[in-house]
C-alpha cells in the first residue's frame, strides 16, 4: 500500500518554497488536480472536428487520438447500445420487462467506459449501465434478467469482470476500490472503472470511496455520468461546486471534464486515464457531461420537472448522429459498414426479444438455495415448508 502526501503544513510564506515545488507531470499539484477550465470536446455536434486549441486541453491534460479501428469498433457498439436501449423500452411497454432505466442519450459514455478496459480489468456499473455491461461482453439476455424480475442478477460477475448492476447509490464505488486494492496487493496491474451518476456524488460512500482510492493509491477511475438529473432533482440542487470534477481536489486526485456525447473525446480521455492508472499514477475522477433523454425509468414522468425545450436542446447533441457524420466525413464509414452495423444491432435486438419473450419458469425453491454457501437447518426447514405447499398445490390441480 502506498500512502503519499506531505501534510506538514507550510508554516510561512517566506520559508516555504517547497509547496510550490510539489509537482506532478511537470505542473503544480493544484493545477494537476483542478480540472481543465473547459470540458474536453473533440468533435462538434455537427460532426466536424475541432481544432486542437479549441478542444479544451491544457498543459498536463494532453490526450492521445483514438485509432481509426478503435473509432469504428466503438461506433458499432454505439449503434448496438442505442438499439438495445430502445428495444428494452419497447419490451417494458409490452410487459415483458418490469422496469428499465434507459441510457438513451448516454450511449457514448457507456461504450467508452467498457471499451477502454483490458480483459483483466473490472467494471462496476449502476442500474443505468446495462449497455456498458453488454459492451464488455456480457450476454444481453443475462444482463436484462434483473429487469425482467426472474432474479436479482443474471450474469456471473467473474466471467467478464463486471460487478453487479448496483442500485444502492455509490455503494459499488467501494467495491471497485476493494477489487483494485486486492489486485494491487497481489501485484496485478488491474484497472477498475467505477461508475455513478451526478446525484450519487452527494452520498457519503462517494466520499469514502474516492478517499480510500487516493490514500491507498489505487488504479480506480471514477466515472461520473452527469446527465443533469437525479430522478427529478436537477444538478443545481445537488452541488454548487463549479463542476463535479472539482471534487477530486479534496482527495488529492486529478479531475477531468469531458463532453459525454462526444465519443472521440471520451475515448481519448478514458484511454489516457486507463494508461495512467495502469502505470501507477493513482485514481482519477472523470465527469462526462451528458443528458438523460428519457424519464428516469418507465415509471417516471419527466414532464413534471423539466421542459421539453431542454430535452430538444440535447437532442441536437446526440452522440450517434455526431459520430456518424464524423466517421463518414473521415471516409471510415461507408454504406456497407453502415449496413453491417445495423444488422449487428438488429441481431442483438432479436436476441433480446427472443430471450426475454420466453417465459422461463421460475424455481421457487431457489429462494433458499443461495442465501449461504453453507446452508442452515432453519432454511432447510423453511424450504421444506414451501416445497410441501407447492406439492399440495400441484396435487390439488
Amino acid at each position: 500500500m502506498t500512502i503519499h502526501a506531505d501534510h506538514s503544513a507550510p508554516e510561512t510564506a517566506v520559508e516555504d518554497h517547497a509547496a510550490d515545488v510539489r509537482t506532478k507531470f511537470g505542473i503544480s499539484v493544484e493545477d494537476y488536480m483542478l480540472p481543465a477550465r473547459h470540458q474536453i470536446q473533440m468533435v462538434n455536434p455537427d460532426g466536424s472536428l475541432r481544432s486542437h486549441d479549441e478542444q479544451g486541453t491544457e498543459p498536463g491534460h494532453e490526450y492521445p487520438t483514438p485509432s481509426d479501428a478503435e473509432l469504428m469498433a466503438a461506433y458499432e457498439q454505439l449503434v448496438v447500445g442505442r438499439r438495445v436501449n430502445d428495444q428494452n423500452s419497447a419490451l417494458v411497454r409490452q410487459g415483458r420487462m418490469a422496469v428499465y432505466p434507459s441510457s438513451h442519450g448516454q450511449e457514448a459514455c457507456q461504450v467508452a467506459a467498457a471499451m477502454c478496459l483490458s480483459e483483466g480489468d473490472w467494471l462496476f456499473p449502476t442500474y443505468r449501465d446495462a449497455v456498458a455491461v453488454m459492451t464488455r461482453g456480457v450476454d444481453p439476455v443475462e444482463v436484462m434478467t434483473i429487469f425482467r424480475g426472474d432474479w436479482h442478477g443474471g450474469y456471473d460477475p467473474k466471467e467478464h469482470n463486471v460487478g453487479i448492476q448496483c442500485t444502492p447509490l455509490t455503494t459499488q464505488l467501494l467495491h471497485a476500490v476493494g477489487v483494485a486494492h486486492a489486485a494491487k496487493l497481489r501485484g496485478e496491474d488491474t484497472v477498475v472503472m467505477a461508475m455513478c451518476g451526478d446525484g450519487a456524488t452527494s452520498e457519503g460512500d462517494f466520499h469514502e470511496a474516492l478517499n480510500f482510492a487516493a490514500v491507498f493509491h489505487l488504479p480506480v477511475i471514477f466515472f461520473v455520468q452527469n446527465n443533469k438529473y437525479a430522478i427529478s432533482v436537477p444538478l443545481s440542487h445537488q452541488s454548487v461546486a463549479p463542476s463535479l470534477a472539482h471534487k477530486a481536489v479534496g482527495y488529492g486526485m486529478a479531475g477531468e471534464r469531458v463532453d459525454g456525447n462526444d465519443l472521440v473525446a471520451l475515448l481519448a480521455v478514458m484511454d489516457r486515464a486507463v494508461k495512467l492508472a495502469r502505470e501507477g499514477s493513482g485514481p482519477l475522477l472523470i465527469e462526462a457531461h451528458t443528458y438523460r433523454m428519457q424519464a428516469h425509468t418507465n415509471a417516471d414522468d419527466a414532464t413534471r420537472y423539466r421542459p421539453d425545450s431542454e430535452v430538444a436542446e440535447w437532442q441536437a447533441k446526440d452522440p450517434l448522429a455526431r459520430m456518424k457524420s464524423y466517421l463518414t466525413d473521415k471516409g471510415l464509414l461507408d454504406d456497407e459498414a453502415t449496413n453491417r452495423i445495423a444488422e449487428h444491432a438488429e441481431a442483438v435486438a432479436t436476441q433480446l426479444r427472443e430471450g426475454l419473450g420466453e417465459d422461463v419458469p421460475v424455481q421457487p425453491l431457489d429462494l433458499f438455495k443461495y442465501v449461504f454457501a453453507k446452508p442452515t437447518p432453519q432454511l432447510k426447514e423453511q424450504s421444506e415448508l414451501l416445497a410441501s405447499e407447492l406439492a399440495r398445490e400441484e396435487s390439488a390441480k
Binding site: G149, P168, G199, H237, Q238, R306, P307
Partner: protein, 366 residues
Amino acid sequence: MTVTTTANGTTTANVSAATANAAASAAATAEATGPQSLTMAKALNTAMADAMRNDPSVLVFGEDVGMLGGVFRITDGLMAEFGEQRCFDTPLAESGIVGMAVGMAINGMRPVIEMQFDAFAYPAFEQIVSHVAKMHNRTKGKLKMPMVIRVPYAGGIGGVEHHCDSSESYYAHTAGLKVYTPATVADGYRMLREAIDSDDPVMFMEPKKLYWSKDQVDLGALRAEHDAGTSTEGRAAVARPGTDATLIAYGPSVPTALAAAAAAAEEGRSLEVIDVRTLVPFDDETVCASVRKTGRAVVIAEAHGFASVSSEIVARVQERAFHYLAAPILRVTGFDVPFPSPKLEHYYLPSVDRILDAVDELQWED
C-alpha cells in the same frame, strides 16, 4: 430565489401546469366534506397538508418530494401550496437528510422527512439509532425530537431489489423510537397526524402496496377526531371480531389476515383479526385480551421471522397469556432469505393459504 425555474431562468409551461394541477387537486380534496372514496396515498398527503396548514414549523423534505411530489406522489402539491421553503428537495444523501432533520428539530422545527424506499434508509442508520432515538434521553428531555421519518416499506408491488425490505424490526428494536404503521386509509390520516404532533421521533412505516387501496373516508370527521385529541398510539384495533383464534397482523399483512379470516369463516371458523397499528408502543392489553378469549393465535408479518417484531409478539403473548393457550403461537412471516425478485415474491409473502395452513395446525383436535 427560484428553484422551480430552469437554468436559463424561464419557467416552462408543462412544468408549471403539473404544479398547478397538483395544487388544485389537493385543494379539492381538502375542501370536500362527507364520505368520499380516498386512497391511502391521498390520506397521507392530506394529513401532511393539514399539519402544515396548522403549524408553520412543520417542514417536508427528502429526495424528489418537491416538484415531483415524491416517487409515490405522497407529497404531491405540498411545494405548490406551501412554497419551496417548507417542502423541498435535498441533495441525494439519506444520512444528510436525517442528520439535518435532527438539527432542525433542535432548532424549533417539526421535520417530516421521506426515505425514498425502505433499503435506502440504511445509510441513515447511524443518525437514526445514535441520535434520533437517543437525543431526548441523553439530554433528559431538554432536546425533543419531534420528527417523523416516513418509510415506504415491504413488498407486493413487484419491486426490484432494495425496494421491498420490511425494515420495521430494526427500528422497533431500537430503544427511543416509536414505530407506527397504518393499514387502513383512515388510519393513514389519523396516525400520520398523530406522528407529526408527537414530540417523540416516529418511524412511520407506510405499506407501499396499500398506497392505492381505497376506502370511504370522511375527512371532516377525521379532522374533528384529530382536533379532539383522539389517539391511536398504543391502541391496537380489532379489525374483525372472532372467537376461535386470533390473527395478529400489522401494516401490509392486515388485508391478508382479513382475507384469511373471511375464507375461514366460509369453512365455519371464526377468526379475530387484530391490527397492531403501533409496534412501539405495543398494545399488550388488546392483543392479550383477544388471545385469552380465543386461546389460539397466529402472528403474521412480511418481514423475515428471525429476531423480529413477530418474534416479540409471540414472546410477549406467551408470557402474558400462557395458561389460556391451547396450542403454541405460530408465525406466518417472510422467510429468512433476502427479499426475492418480482417473479418470486409471491412465494415469499404471507398468503391466505399459508395463514389458513397455520390456523389448521393450532391443534384443534386436542
